[in-house]
């Protein structure tokens, strides 16, 4: 069956409440009964919940074959905990038929790829699939299709019962003996625990993993001891050098600076750019540079930002310290500057993934977002964006908060160079749709700006401001004229991953890539 972004969804994936994507807002107003954990009553006082090993924690929580285990990725590429726990579950305890529900997966969980190949891990539910995990899934080694969800889709799926977490293993920087936990106060700090908090309310069992035990009570905390079964102390929860980076250097690539300046100009041309506006952007490349150009416009206009949302870098903390930002609502910290900032300023507030982006709660923060600036691996002439599969069709990306902020914001701007190496970024059909075109408003490239024709209002604002723009088709043609028309990828029938829209409908599928035949 074809869905609202024109993708053919195999019938066998539908039914039992699973539908194809029907467009933005389709689920709005529907009622549902929230899912719920099955938990143990700890009526009798315990002095401590500290266990001697991960294995002891697993046994206390009744870990067995067929369970779903969750992990978070606040420790990013430096995380030791997910791979460490999986090793205990599979190699030491011999468990099988395991499903992994993670906020993301990447190189730090490389051993998961082995367990997938061995058939021990049979299910993967995640936002990101990078590194070897992406390769083995794309090669069809995972027993069931991986389920790719956005950061808002994850808490939605947990609350609607699409995924039930048996045991959550949550890496934290510091904990007391009873599980009051924080992303700071330890040897390896990550700042916000926004990716971890929601699981503590919905998992049957919660195991805290830390390298730093502090005095009871470890308050204020991000995770409350009332949700924690066991606390497990390990040597190191992560590699500090990979958890946070030094402040990302502002790009000096003139092409990126030009795109950033154009993004800021587009923002400034909108009527939403007024005192109290809200804003989100990523790190790296032109995104970070947008902050600098935006600051200029804010100072010129004499206005301040009400709140900055999402993953946080030192750049936005600096804007707050200059008095230009009222609140930072922080789901994860990208650099040491943000980690040092978060709990020192009461206006730099940690929020969890449901507060951030869940389309099934009573109003996530993305719904109050004026502007979001996002990148893309590909964007097609229907403004559909792909951030999950490479030009070779292999899983190597992460939707993250992309589809959520795009849907919630008043103005979603994609910034990307027209081509990357031999690949046309603006194309006729993206390999995989991860953010539907009805949520994307403006595209800024190094060869021009295009506005989604659905947004005639924004076209008017740009015209009024004298900002030139072209059709997205002309950008695609320009790209093809530079690189050549890309060859179609060749797929087998097997679905290796399902891309869920944030509301739980099916947005696209990723099929097994045909092995390349060498001539």
């Amino acid at each position: 069956m074809k869905n609202a972004v024109g993708r053919e969804i195999p019938d066998q994936l539908l039914g039992e409440g699973k539908e194809v994507y029907q467009g933005k807002g389709y689920m709005d107003g529907k009622y549902f009964q929230k899912a719920t954990p099955r938990t143990r009553r700890y009526e009798t006082p315990q002095e401590s919940k500290i266990v001697q090993s991960i294995r002891e924690a697993c046994e206390k929580c009744g870990a067995h074959d067929g369970m779903t285990f969750s992990f978070h990725t606040e420790f990013r590429e430096g995380d030791y905990v997910a791979s460490m726990v999986a090793k205990v579950l599979i190699e030491d305890m011999g468990l099988k038929d395991i499903t992994v529900a993670a906020t993301s997966l990447g190189n730090a969980q490389d051993n998961f790829a082995d367990y997938i190949e061995q058939g021990k891990i049979i299910g993967v539910q995640t936002s990101g699939v990078r590194g070897r995990i992406g390769e083995v899934i794309s090669a069809g080694k995972l027993k069931t299709p991986a389920i790719i969800r956005s950061h808002g889709g994850r808490p939605r799926a947990i609350e609607t019962g699409d995924v039930h977490i048996d045991i959550a293993f949550l890496a934290v920087a510091s904990s007391d003996c009873c599980g009051n936990s924080s992303g700071i106060g330890g040897r390896n700090n990550c700042g916000s625990l926004g990716f971890a908090i929601h699981d503590t309310h919905f998992a049957d069992h919660v195991v805290i993993v830390t390298d730093t035990i502090v005095e009871y009570p470890n308050l204020p905390s991000s995770i409350s001891s009332i949700d924690v079964d066991c606390v497990c102390v390990v040597d190191e929860v992560g590699d500090a050098t990979k958890i946070s980076t030094k402040e990302a250097r502002m790009t000096d690539n003139p092409r990126e600076l030009m795109m950033a300046e154009n993004v800021a100009n587009v923002i400034a041309a909108n009527p939403y750019f007024k005192d109290g506006f809200s804003f989100q952007t990523g790190v790296g490349g032109p995104s970070l540079a947008v902050n600098r150009f935006l600051e200029k416009h804010m100072l010129e206009k004499g206005i301040k930002m009400s709140f900055a949302l999402g993953g946080t870098s030192k750049a936005i903390c600096d804007l707050m310290d200059k008095g230009l930002v009222g609140r930072i609502l922080d789901t994860q910290d990208f650099d040491q500057g943000a980690i040092d900032h978060i709990f020192k300023n009461p206006n730099h507030v940690e929020i969890d993934l449901s507060e951030y982006a869940n389309p099934a709660n009573k109003g996530a923060y993305v719904n109050k977002l004026d502007f979001v600036v996002l990148s893309a691996l590909e964007i097609d002439t229907n403004f559909n964006v792909n951030v999950i599969t490479g030009s070779d069709g292999v899983l190597r990306g992460a939707p993250g908060g992309h589809p959520d902020t795009a849907a919630g914001s008043k103005c979603c701007i994609i910034v990307t160079p027209l081509t990357r190496g031999r690949m046309a970024t603006v194309c006729k059909d993206v390999v995989t749709v991860t953010t539907p075109g009805d949520c994307v408003d403006v595209l800024v490239t190094d060869y021009g700006i295009a506005v989604n024709p659905l947004r005639q209002d924004i076209i008017g604002y740009l015209d009024e401001a004298g900002i030139k723009h072209v059709t997205i088709e002309s950008l695609q043609e320009k790209a093809y004229s530079m690189i050549g028309t890309p060859d179609d990828l060749e797929w087998e029938d097997d679905v290796v991953a399902i891309v869920e829209a944030r509301d739980g409908t099916i947005l696209d599928v990723v099929r097994k890539i045909k092995p390349m035949e060498l001539d």
Copy 2:
């Protein structure tokens, strides 16, 4: 059927999972599936959730006959919101067969008594029943027996599904247009919203009622907008003069001071009185004075308190400011000094009722409590305590956190004068058991100290410290010799209230009192 404190529980109240009280720790280790709300998906952005009237909020949330509505009592005797909402539901909208689930009820909700008499309110679930509400319930006017729960029993009952809240009406000091709410920042501040927070996670619908709308986002907040359906602005949420009192003056009654000093001496004689000990006490009478004598012992011994728990007064904030208390874990604020203190010091932390005292979560703070000092209306020779019914058998009290802190703490001290007016406080059988004797360790009166024989360890500590103590029977005999043996109360068969133990079993029942016959 007789329960573990010797009370006869009518068979018709048992079955369907309802059991009689079996003693402390009976439910420990049992698993249960948490209850869950049925909530609306707000996928499409809304600019604001502000409605024009309480009635509009009720209609938006589908208020109808037979529903259960919840209220909290952080605004104490000054609360306007519960009575205001009930008036709209019953007088304006004509609803009937209503059940009220409140953290407490008292004089501020006097109109509830009328609605009970009119048969509109047919169920009451609460901790406190004071004022006219207690009188009409005791007179048998409520259609179903009232259910009396402790502060920990309430979140337990909500999570086990014993009570399902259809709409929670939550008074707050300030809110933004989307429902991020706080107990400060308004015209009428209450400080901690610890009594309100838990309902927001388990009620189908949540209506915020405030007199102060502040700029979005109102962060840090106690209640998150993701749980809020409507925000309703009223003229005043309460009477500021009754919400908080000025700092309670330290008693100068020599009898009360002597009892307070003896309580502090008992605490200091215990081995738990060491650096990092934890402590809870109430306000008023000898309780507040305990702080002063305890300070003396702490300074002498050179030790500090790890955390103070529960309802908070300026006295304990002052101890923190002197560097003698590490953390205050605050469920409600008793005076203006505590309200002014709570969000200014990051170590003065708001906690909700589940974190405080829920015996069905994974370890509430009461379970880490070393000492609690509590009052009593009556205590009997089995150390059973009554804090709900007066000597006339009429409902006029509140268990609050009494049974929870008694059960969780290492040493529970009851402080009470031996007699009050013509009533013996220490008696053979309390009118109603609200805290079972197996949770009560020491009794301090103005005529001597008694230790529960279950606690031979504490008897040893007191002997070692040279603190005299007597049997509780001798105190009871002394009381009867002073006042005379009390007449037995005369009851009818009808049960007007069920006193649930914190674990959900039935601890006692209150029957309809026989109308007094005038000679």
